[in-house]
């Protein structure tokens, strides 16, 4: 019974100590213990009190061990925390996210990782803005800026591993020519990637999208940029662009193989990919 009592008395938390103390209050107890944050003090006070009142020799022995006991508990706790952290890290290392992998490969001196990129646009202003953005993002070398027409690229045949175009092919007058040029400048094994607005496949979302495009976007263009006409043209040109399947056929006509597409946001935007084999 004594041991049971002592275990109950020596619970870790200081607060529980005081509660336990209150439970054990016996008639004749008069001290008000200083409720310190550490249990140790309680112990020493308690030791005297219980000794005088209960004469718990075993308690006093156990107390001496109890002081050490708390230290060990604390050490164990710290070690367990450390182990938990290590386990978490190991788990994270097994489920690495793409971002973390990319970060590991990222090189401050050479953010492109040894590759060279040619940025080509028909509009000088766009190139200027692109240069500013690249500088702001920390690119110092590896980028070339070329003024050129997508329908007639100023590059030789079989030069590039990847040709990517984002929201640009819609503005090209002859898309098939642009695709043929893409095929020409790519190396065998090279990949063509195109991100562009496309047709929405879900009828409900299509109606909402139409409503937003034609009613809201030109208004926003007028209010924010003072330009209604450009944004009206923008939404109309989006509707004029071929659907995912049609565009896929056009890419295949240009000579690409293994052509696939992925619709994003139920088709508002689609990524087409093809290989020159």
């Amino acid at each position: 019974m004594a041991t049971h009592r002592s275990c109950a008395l020596w619970s870790c938390c200081g607060r529980r100590w005081s509660r336990v103390m209150r439970c054990c209050r016996l008639p004749g107890f008069r001290s008000s213990w200083p409720r310190g944050p550490l249990g140790a003090r309680h112990l020493s006070q308690e030791k005297q009190a219980t000794e005088t009142h209960f004469g718990f020799e075993t308690v006093s022995d156990k107390e001496k061990g109890g002081k050490g006991d708390i230290a060990f508990r604390f050490l164990n706790y710290v070690r367990a925390q450390h182990k938990r952290k290590q386990k978490k890290q190991l788990r994270a290392q097994q489920n690495v996210s793409w971002e973390e992998i990319a970060k590991k490969y990222h090189n401050e001196e050479d953010p492109l990782g040894g590759s060279r990129v040619v940025v080509c646009d028909i509009n000088k202003e766009m190139l200027k803005i692109g240069k500013q953005k690249a500088r702001a993002q920390g690119h110092k070398a590896g980028l070339a800026w070329v003024l050129g027409d997508a329908e007639e690229l100023p590059f030789d045949d079989d030069k590039f591993d990847v040709y990517s175009i984002a929201f640009g092919i819609r503005n090209v007058t002859h898309i098939d020519q642009a695709l043929q040029e893409a095929h020409r400048v790519l190396k065998p094994g090279g990949r063509f990637l195109c991100l562009e607005f496309s047709q929405v496949n879900n009828p409900l979302i299509s109606r909402l999208y139409d409503l937003y495009s034609f009613q809201v976007i030109p208004v926003l263009g007028e209010v924010i940029a003072g330009d209604w006409k450009s944004y009206q043209y923008l939404v109309e040109s989006i509707r004029q662009f071929p659907s995912q399947e049609e565009f896929k056929e056009m890419i295949e006509d240009a000579g690409f193989e293994k052509v696939t597409y992925e619709s994003l946001t139920s088709g508002i935007v689609a990524i087409h990919s093809g290989f020159k084999l």
């Binding site: 646009d121 028909i122 509009n123 202003e125 766009m126 640009g168 503005n171 090209v172 007058t173 047709q199 109606r207 139409d210 409503l211 034609f214 009613q215 809201v216 030109p218 208004v219 926003l220 007028e222 209010v223 924010i224 003072g226 209604w228 006409k229 450009s230 043209y233 923008l234 109309e236 040109s237 509707r239 004029q240 071929p242 659907s243 399947e245 049609e246």
Partner: protein
């Protein structure tokens, strides 16, 4: 943007699966070619008008220098008031003549030399002085003025037309009036255009400078005269950005004067200003019942 504008509107592709415009006309609104009532007209659905009104109201509060937003607000909300104005003009003989002949006040149609040669105190002279004092005239006329504005400090031009950074001059001139776009009636489009062009004449008539205080006074006058929601909103919300002192002057002196005179005067759109350049300004004021304007400090009070 240049790439967008560069490619012409592409013809409908012959491949199948094209969603034609017919199925979506209620949502898409009328495309250009059909439904254009006047050059520059942009047909808009009621939803678009509502969105434009809300957006332009917010934007003009946020950035008071967006005059195009004030104009859009006027066009989208003023249908009823414009009809009232047009009826008033029809009833008056001079106003009916204006509606018939459709004169336009612009720096290119104004013969500035002739106006300069007019006697002192005439409407033409005072108008010219108003343009000068408020830095709206370059001695090389309209073309140089736009040069001044775009370059900030033109080479070879004797005058500097950069607004002083401390005075919030609202730079308006006869030619910064954008053409009407969102009014769905050709005659009403002219009425609102005329109203905008007459705005500078009102400054001259009321003797108000083009700083914020002066603009608010003119707006109150116009609100009482025309009843356009845009004028009413501008009159009510314009003073928001004023200091307490200017507000006090505004409320105690200027607004009561403007409202009184606005009520008393006949419709100012009925005046054929282009024929009244020689008329002395004071005589014109008397004709309209406009009393001596209180002085407004030109140096920026806001």
């Amino acid at each position: 943007m240049a790439t967008l504008l560069r490619s012409a509107l592409r013809p409908l592709r012959p491949l199948g699966g094209r969603r034609g415009p017919a199925a979506d006309v209620p949502l898409r609104g009328v495309r250009h070619g059909a439904g254009l009532l006047y050059p520059g007209h942009i047909p808009t659905s009621p939803l678009q008008k509502a969105l434009l009104a809300a957006g332009s109201a917010g934007m003009s509060l946020y950035n008071p220098y967006r005059h195009d937003m004030v104009a859009v607000l006027g066009e989208t909300t003023g249908h009823r008031a414009l009809k009232g104005l047009r009826d008033q003009m029809r009833k008056d003989p001079e106003g009916a003549e204006i509606l018939q002949e459709r004169p336009r006040i612009s720096l290119s149609t104004l013969d500035l030399d002739k106006l300069r040669s007019l006697p002192e105190g005439s409407l033409g002279q005072e108008y010219l002085r108003f343009l000068d004092v408020n830095e709206l005239l370059c001695h090389k006329f309209q073309q140089a003025w736009t040069l001044c504005v775009s370059q900030g400090r033109p080479r070879g031009c004797q005058r500097h037309y950069i607004p002083c950074p401390r005075t919030p001059l609202l730079r308006v001139s006869p030619d910064t009036r954008a053409p009407t776009r969102f009014v769905d009636d050709e005659e009403l489009a002219y009425v609102i255009q005329r109203y905008r062009e007459v705005h500078d004449m009102l400054h001259t008539l009321l003797g108000m400078p083009t700083n914020i205080l002066g603009e608010i006074v003119v707006k109150w006058f116009e609100a009482v005269q025309t009843g356009l929601p845009m004028c009413i909103l501008g009159a009510l919300f314009g003073p928001i950005r004023l200091s307490a002192q200017s507000l006090q002057v505004l409320v105690s002196e200027l607004i009561p004067w403007a409202v009184q005179n606005g009520r008393r005067a006949p419709c100012v759109l009925n005046l054929y200003y282009e024929r009244r350049w020689e008329q002395p300004l004071l005589a014109l004021r008397e004709e309209l019942g406009i009393t001596e304007p209180p002085t407004v400090h030109v140096r920026g009070p806001a």
